[in-house]
């Protein structure tokens, strides 16, 4: 009664049902077994975790890049504007009116070459020289699928020197994105195989080292799952810790890509970074546990 800590403990215990207390103790024991198993692996732990962190970093970087590229492609693809650059001798107003007559054109905005030049000089801090820019028309189209027909009609006009539209770039980025996506999936597969193999080997060594001990536990009637669980947890621990370490390099990848987004003013989809990190943790932990599980199935006949 004099010890308040013991008193609180007793109070808490009273409110936990008996069998729950039992399960909690088993859970505690299993955690201790896991910690012991990890501790006994010694320096090997660092090797395994570093390797897994490297693998997860490569995957995370690819995955993150793929997401950024797809958001670029998406952003550009939704710009319904064609830039038309006129020849030096062309009349901007005449061109504007004839373009406005083309179906699906919503509006045409004239940007006189003097304005563009002033803007550019302000932004880039250029020296005084002859204005090299043409007059520009910004043509707004009503829907993405109409951009191409409009583009082709405008192209035929004699006053037009050159033109460009964002979708064009978007398509190129999209193609590149496809490649990056494919690589990401390849990296994912290789990563899974590597992770499972590394964990598999590690746990095999652990089982080898503890063969006698496990045999004794088996003979004493320790349940199969009690022997297996700490090994599976050890595998999961390596995957989880690998992901944890990989957070550092992935942070720099994120910074770089975020700067890119800011520079091009393309907003990143919400929670991208969290999604990448979560995926890394999930995959690391899951495949760590899986590698361990496969090893146990093969090498631990219980």
């Amino acid at each position: 009664m004099s010890n308040p800590k013991a008193e609180i403990k007793k109070q808490v215990k009273k409110h936990i049902p008996k069998d729950w207390l039992c399960e909690l103790r088993i859970l505690y024991r299993l955690s201790m077994e896991t910690v012991n198993g990890i501790r006994r692996t010694g320096l090997g732990n660092f090797v395994i975790i570093t390797t897994l962190a490297a693998i997860l970093t490569i995957f995370g970087a690819f995955f993150r890049t793929a997401l950024t590229m797809s958001s670029f492609a998406h952003e550009l693809g939704s710009v319904l504007e064609i830039s038309v650059y006129l020849k030096d001798n062309a009349n901007a107003i005449v061109s504007k009116n004839s373009i406005q007559a083309i179906p699906h054109v919503v509006s045409v905005n004239v940007i006189p070459r003097a304005n563009s030049w002033a803007d550019l000089r302000r932004e880039m801090d250029l020296p005084d020289m002859n204005n090299p820019l043409p007059d520009t028309l910004h043509v707004k189209v009503d829907a993405p699928e109409n951009i191409e027909p409009v583009f082709n009609s405008v192209k035929k006009m004699s006053a037009v020197e050159d033109m460009s539209y964002a979708q064009d770039v978007a398509k190129k980025i999209e193609a590149l994105n496809q490649i990056v996506n494919t690589i990401t999936i390849f990296v994912l597969i290789i990563m899974c195989v590597l992770t499972i193999t590394i964990i598999n080997n590690t746990i095999q060594l652990v089982i080898q080292a503890r063969k006698e001990e496990i045999e004794i536990m088996r003979l004493m009637g320790v349940s199969n799952w009690y022997i297996r669980f700490p090994l599976i947890m050890q595998g999961a621990f390596y995957g989880f810790t690998g992901a944890l370490v990989a957070l550092i390099p992935i942070h720099f990848v994120e910074l770089g890509l975020n700067n890119m987004h800011e520079f091009f003013m393309v907003p990143l989809p919400l929670y991208t970074q969290q999604f990448v990190v979560l995926t890394m943790f999930a995959i690391g932990t899951l495949f760590g546990a899986t590698g361990s599980f496969l090893c146990i199935k093969k090498h631990l006949q219980v």
């Binding site: 039992c22 088993i26 024991r29 004794i216 003979l219 009637g221 199969n224 219980v302």
Partner: protein
């Protein structure tokens, strides 16, 4: 309590370790299993704790046929008995106390109850003062006493000892046998396989003699030969 019915055990290399064994052991008995090397004593013990399965016939313990027990039930069976080995099979990186406590800890029993049970078992084998030592710091006789304490800590109705004194000198062997006898006097069924004729002659218990996989003699209060 234990019934063997027409039990035959053939190992993979086609030699019969046990042939048509029929055997009844009552609850509370103390039984010596003797016989020459290779007679099948260890095989008989292994059938009891399900390390081996009979090729044919049934082994029944407490009304349950363990000949085709599912794998996940085997640990339950083993926790209902205490098993003692010739080579002790202790966990060398754990203290005496932790060795004895190991299995009941996996059951989620409170540490208070664990310590009561472990200390009780250590008291029976007389190792109360060495519970912090590791197996490497103990003599062979002491290590086997740890083995016995571990076997009885869960309060099993049956204790199986396969040549528990095989690695011990006569004095230590006598101590171990006396502890097993004491355990038997608490009502626990004890089955001991041994080569040690002096011990068998001294205790005058039921003696089952195996020869070449067959029971050739089974007498109460018997001697080795």
């Amino acid at each position: 309590m234990i019934q063997f019915r027409s039990v035959t055990k053939k190992y993979k290399n086609d030699n019969y370790a046990l042939k048509n064994i029929n055997l009844d052991i009552q609850s509370g008995e103390f039984v010596f299993v003797v016989g020459a090397s290779g007679a099948g004593k260890s095989t008989l013990m292994k059938l009891l704790y399900n390390e081996e399965r009979p090729t044919s016939g049934t082994v029944t313990i407490g009304g349950i046929n363990i000949a085709n027990l599912s794998n996940d039930k085997v640990p339950n069976l083993r926790r209902c008995m205490g098993i003692i080995f010739q080579d002790y099979k202790l966990l060398n990186n754990l203290s005496v106390y932790d060795n004895v406590a190991y299995v009941i800890r996996t059951l989620g029993i409170s540490s208070k109850e664990i310590s009561a049970r472990v200390l009780g078992a250590l008291k029976i084998v007389g190792l109360f003062d060495k519970m912090r030592a590791t197996p490497a710091e103990l003599s062979g006789g002491e290590q086997q006493r740890v083995g016995i304490a571990r076997a009885i800590v869960n309060g099993p109705p049956l204790v199986i000892a396969d040549e528990p004194t095989g690695n011990l000198d006569p004095k230590n062997s006598m101590e171990i046998m006396q502890i097993l006898d004491q355990i038997n006097q608490r009502g626990i069924t004890v089955i001991v396989s041994t080569h040690d004729n002096a011990m068998v002659d001294y205790f005058r218990k039921r003696v089952i003699t195996l020869d070449n996989g067959e029971i050739v003699r089974d007498i109460q209060a018997g001697t080795y030969e």
